[in-house]
Amino acid sequence: MSNIEQNKNILEVTSLAISFGGLNAVDNFSLSIKNKELYGLIGPNGAGKTTVFNLLTGVYRPDQGEILLDGENLVGKSVEEINKTGIARTFQNIRLFNRLTVLENVKVGFNAFNKYNLLDAVLALPNKKKVEEESNGEAMELLKVFNLQDEAHLLAGNLSYGEQRKLEIARALATKPKLLLLDEPAAGMNSNETMDLMNTIRFVRDKFNVTILLIEHDMKLVSGICERLTVLNFGRVLKQGITNDVLNDPEVIKAYLGD
């Protein structure tokens, strides 16, 4: 990470497109995000924001276009390969491992790092214990960032909505991504929780040296933390630029409020 310069583009997307049954869900979508940037992707419902996330993470394969993460081509890679290349995400409709504990949810995120072989596992050899201890420690550190350490032993499915959203971020961070995609992180949170979340997101960016791209409808959060924005409308880029410029653009206001 240290060798990446501050001004270098970590994500480079050019003319991405996908259609479903003749409908152009995303069309001619381009985007570049600088290292350690906090970037916002906004737009009215159905504009194709989540589809962009699904394209970036390999859930959908684009009909055309190019995605480069830190210079590495992502098109054609599977979801898990893309994660290993350095993208982690959260989901609009929360997708936790509900029947695992909060701690275990985060530990699953370490799967690429804290490994041991099958023999260690089934015979409970010392190496297993050692690696598990390490994972536990690291996972608790991560949970503390999100103030979830006291809930570590609960089943993820029993957390409150806001806590579940935070746990998803923690789990994504456990995979040590270069780029973190947050899909409506503040959805369902009250304004105090949202304020908290804003601070946490900033803190995460600095502590984990991660670039963050987020989808959000809460304009307070967007204008509060995003440095630059892309506005999507009907699958196409409507506007791109510095947050304040974009938010005050008449075309953007029209797209949001209608005619």
Binding site: S78, N83, R95, N111, D120, A121, E151, H153
Partner: protein, 360 residues
């Protein structure tokens, strides 16, 4: 850090109690048998109980932990049974009968069934839910059918194989037919004892609990809970599912080895290796609780012993069993009875943290 200790303690107590249950269960039953208090019926049930328990916990790995509905578990048991029994029968023909032979046979059964599970799993685990169920059912039936059509013999010149009949094998002087088509293997050596069954069950329990409480088990459960999220954090879902399926099949194979060496003859009948058997095992798993290893053993034991005790009612026993099954499923799963169940649960579990109760 207290939370971590909590989780670790819970896992440890659970694993320990499961293992202890097997040991204590064995000790009690063995002393009852030693004291001559057990009827022949009960004595004869001991090895099958171990076999059914192993089948139930291994299927629980596939269905409960990995979340894949398999209706072909008996097929893998069948492979383990025949693979190992060919070996022991051959060894018997050579004049070798010893515990070591049986230990090797167990490994052969495990490897053969595990390999079959692996090969079948590669294409099949791409299918989801009910499709997987019907395909695994089909595989179980294919395995049974094919074994019924095989004739295998051995004489001084080596192994002979045919799909026609035993005469077609053209065995020389002193040769024997090992597999006689639908009649299967006769004169198989009887190695399975209650002690061996209990030890193998114990080993399976320990291995399985360790596996579930490991990096691997955790990843497999994560994929079960949410495949898309699991892939998004870098898990290769097919690989882990295949791992669970292979281990589950191998353990079913071990149960098959015990089965094959508990009787004099081994034949692949619908009763022992057909889909009905797979379904019986699935019933153990579901009633014992998905993902609950201890529960699988308890329900395998109860549901095997129960029909035997219902023998007094002779013809009515399976009827009673089926009514119980339906009633139990409705009671424990009907959405309308959820509040009723939770009330009952909170009365039983009073004082415990309610958040810990798994919600459906």
């Amino acid at each position: 850090m207290e939370q971590i200790r909590n989780i670790k303690n819970k896992q440890f107590i659970y694993s320990l109690s499961t293992a202890l249950m097997v040991i204590v269960g064995y000790a009690i039953m063995q002393s009852v048998i030693n004291a001559n208090l057990a009827s022949p019926l009960i004595k004869g049930l001991m090895v099958p109980l171990c076999i059914y328990s192993i089948l139930a916990i291994s299927l629980n790995l596939v269905v409960g932990i990995s979340g894949e509905l398999s209706l072909g578990h008996a097929g893998f048991m069948c492979i383990g049974a025949f693979a190992s029994c060919i070996f022991t029968r051959y060894m018997k023909w050579l004049g070798n009968e010893s515990l070591l032979i049986f230990i090797i046979a167990i490994l052969i059964g495990a490897v053969a069934a595990g390999l079959a599970g692996f090969l079948i799993g590669i294409p099949v685990l791409r299918l989801r839910g009910d499709y997987l169920a019907i395909v695994t059912l089909a595989f179980g039936e294919i395995i049974k059918n094919v074994i019924n059509a095989i004739y295998l013999g051995v004489d001084s010149t080596g192994f002979k194989f045919s799909m026609k009949d035993s005469l077609d094998l053209n065995l020389g002087e002193g040769g024997i037919v090992i597999i006689k088509g639908a009649q299967g293997i006769t004169n198989a050596p009887r190695y399975s004892t209650f002690l061996i069954g209990a030890i193998i069950l114990l080993i399976c329990v320990v291995i399985l609990n360790n596996f579930i409480n490991s990096y691997y088990g955790r990843n497999i459960m994560a994929i079960r809970d949410n495949r898309i999220a699991a892939e998004s954090i870098g898990l290769n879902a097919s690989r882990y599912k295949l791992l669970a399926f292979t281990i589950g099949s191998a353990m079913a194979g071990v149960a098959g080895v015990l089965y094959a060496h508990n009787l004099n003859t081994l034949a692949a009948l619908p009763k022992n290796f057909g889909y009905n058997m797979s379904i019986t095992i699935l019933v153990f798993v579901v009633l014992g609780g998905m993902g609950n290893i201890r529960g699988s053993i308890i329900s395998a034991v109860i549901l095997t012993v129960l029909p035997e005790f219902l023998r007094e009612f002779s013809n009515y026993r399976m009827l009673v069993y089926s009514i119980l099954l339906v009633t139990l499923m409705i009671f424990s799963n009907a959405p309308a009875l959820k509040d009723f169940r939770e009330n009952l649960l909170s009365k039983i579990n009073f004082g415990k943290n309610k958040k810990l109760i798994n919600k459906e």
